[in-house]
């Protein structure tokens, strides 16, 4: 079996730009270079036409009106614009309380923290051990002055899909603006914004085979949602977001989302089969734990903890595959994934976790290679592990008096 290493299994971090997308983008760098805001000549008109076409393509994937799509530089900017923009606009009329979830991306957590510094009050809900938000707990957290709630569609680390419709209905009933970070959801989950009770939704191109540096924010028109702009200038994007539009990036995002719409059903079925095969293989190893719910989960994600193996040595052992680790051992202070900790995982299990994310170009041979590699390397590291030895001798590691250091 020959496979080319390293094998890329980190599609939740980013994806390659699909060749068909790149081909569409290139003419807008050189030939059709006009500024879409130029109204007085054909260079501008050509660029504007491309931008509006892409807007329709993005809107079509999520069943929205193209007029509800605002271009941004990516999901981080979309989250900032949505959260700070809505909180500031509605604080005076509704109140200054915000609800979000402890397992959100930092691009949601941090804007909320910034609002706390500005005098807002925030509730960071703890998810259930399977990663999902409990609806009763969410309902209980809502207050008359809850101006905004922000819940991600799909978690970036563990891939679980939240019940956006139910959470949105609770927000509606409470008069609370509801924002959803959908960066990890496009092309993986069917999104119908005509039906979903969502006011604001963030998108990113590069998680869905488009280019980096471009994203969008959905801003509902009926009922109309208003925002305070965060970027001031020439009044582009109906004043929501000033700055010259990057035509080639926008064309790329539009094409990437059009491909996702056309191919996601078939592609997800193929990817899910590979993911299930990977889990079937890895779960043959003793003492492995799946992080996050398996059923309410995107098809391409697998997040697994390997007990009795230390995280950093695990990453060294699997250098033939490009994956993400739940352990950020970049400095002396070991910091396990805050997402896995929020699920109640111990530090050890959070450290020794790997996120595998499968994508458009992953092959069955690569999955076979990965299973064999993990089986061999976990076996080798456990042979080295005094904890594994103690576990096999039937010693309860929690009963051991460790020499505190």
């Amino acid at each position: 079996m020959t496979v080319k290493t390293p094998i890329y299994l980190d599609y939740s971090a980013t994806t390659p730009v699909d060749q068909r997308v790149a081909d569409k983008m290139i003419p807008y760098l050189t030939e059709f270079f006009g500024n879409p805001a130029s109204r007085s000549h054909s260079f501008g008109w050509t660029a504007e036409k491309a931008v509006e076409n892409a807007r329709e393509q993005v809107a079509a994937l999520v069943n929205a009106d193209p007029k509800e799509i605002v271009w941004t530089s990516g999901a981080t900017e979309s989250n900032n614009l949505a959260i700070k923009g809505a909180a500031h606009f509605y604080a005076g009329s509704k109140g200054k309380h915000i609800i979000t979830v402890a397992t959100e991306h930092k691009a949601v957590i941090d804007p909320v923290r910034e609002l706390e510094r500005q005098g807002f009050e925030a509730t960071f809900l703890e998810p259930e051990p399977n990663g999902l938000v409990d609806l009763e707990k969410f309902k209980a957290a809502l207050r008359p002055d809850t101006v905004l709630a922000s819940v991600m569609f799909v978690n970036n680390e563990i891939g679980v899909i939240q019940d956006i419709e139910a959470i949105g209905n609770l927000c509606r009933a409470n008069g609370t603006i509801f924002h959803v970070d959908a960066a990890q959801a496009t092309g993986k989950v069917d999104i119908d914004l005509e039906k979903l009770p969502v006011d604001l939704m963030s998108f990113s191109a590069h998680k869905t085979y488009g280019p980096k540096g471009i994203g969008a924010l959905y801003v509902r028109r009926k009922p109309r949602v208003r925002l305070e702009a965060q970027m001031h200038g020439g009044g582009h994007e109906r004043g929501f977001r000033s700055g010259t539009l990057p035509t080639h990036q926008i064309v790329g995002m539009g094409e990437a989302f059009a491909i996702a719409k056309a191919e996601m059903a078939l592609e997800n079925a193929r990817i899910k089969r590979l993911r299930d095969k990977l889990w079937a293989g890895l779960s043959e190893i003793e003492e492995v734990y799946l992080n996050g719910d398996l059923e309410r989960r995107v098809p391409h994600n697998l997040n697994v903890s390997f007990n009795f193996v230390e995280g950093e040595s695990l990453i060294m052992a699997v250098k033939d595959i490009a994956v993400s680790s739940g352990s950020a051992c970049t400095s002396a202070s070991l910091e396990p994934s805050y997402v896995l900790r929020a699920l109640g995982r111990s530090d050890e299990l959070a450290h020794s976790s790997i996120r595998f994310s499968i994508g458009r170009t992953t092959t069955e041979e690569e999955i076979d290679y990965t299973i064999a590699l993990l089986k061999a390397k976990i076996g080798k590291l456990r042979e080295l592990s005094p904890l594994w030895e103690m576990y096999q001798d039937g010693i309860d590691l929690n009963s051991v008096q460790w020499a505190a250091h």
Binding site: F308, V309, E310, G311, E312, S313, M316, C329, T330, S331, A332, S333, L334, S346, D347, E348, H351, E383, L384, S385, P386, L387, W388, E389, L397, W402, A403, A404, H405
Partner: protein
């Protein structure tokens, strides 16, 4: 993190992995560290009638530098008297493996493991254990 060639060599080909029966009278066992800190080292020495370390084995749960530090000391310990073994310093280990500053605690842990193993042996053989392990800091 960039590892030195020596760390990588010990990580890829660890020397003297395994365990002795810890109940044997001529075996000293030192276990230091804690799982929550990300490092646990078990070091064992086997001493001959002449008081010289005949063999050493280790098992380590930890990063590549922790594995390499403990693998290296098992090589160094063989053929040394207990008093000679007591003179092995963490700085010698760190220097040999070219450990970066954030990994110095791995060499400290290895030195502690040596001292703990010797203390265990001396206690078994009716001498006073004098070493106090557990001095390395989890969060330096």
């Amino acid at each position: 993190m960039a590892y030195s060639d020596k760390v990588l060599d010990h990580y890829e080909n660890p020397r003297n992995v395994g365990s002795f029966n810890k109940d044997e009278k001529n075996v000293g066992t030192g276990m230091v560290g804690a799982p929550a800190c990300g490092d646990v080292m078990k070091l064992q020495i086997k001493v001959g009638d002449n008081g010289v370390i005949e063999d050493a084995k280790f098992k380590t749960y930890g990063c590549g530098s922790a594995i390499a530090s403990s693998s290296l000391v098992t090589e160094w310990l063989k053929g040394k008297s207990l008093d000679e073994a007591m003179t092995i310093k963490n700085s010698d280990i760190a220097e040999e493996l070219a450990l970066p500053p954030v990994k110095i605690h791995c060499s400290v842990l290895a030195e502690d493991a040596i001292k703990a193993a010797i203390a265990d042996l001396r206690q078994k053989q009716g001498q006073n254990g004098e070493a106090d392990a557990c001095t390395a800091a989890c969060k330096e």
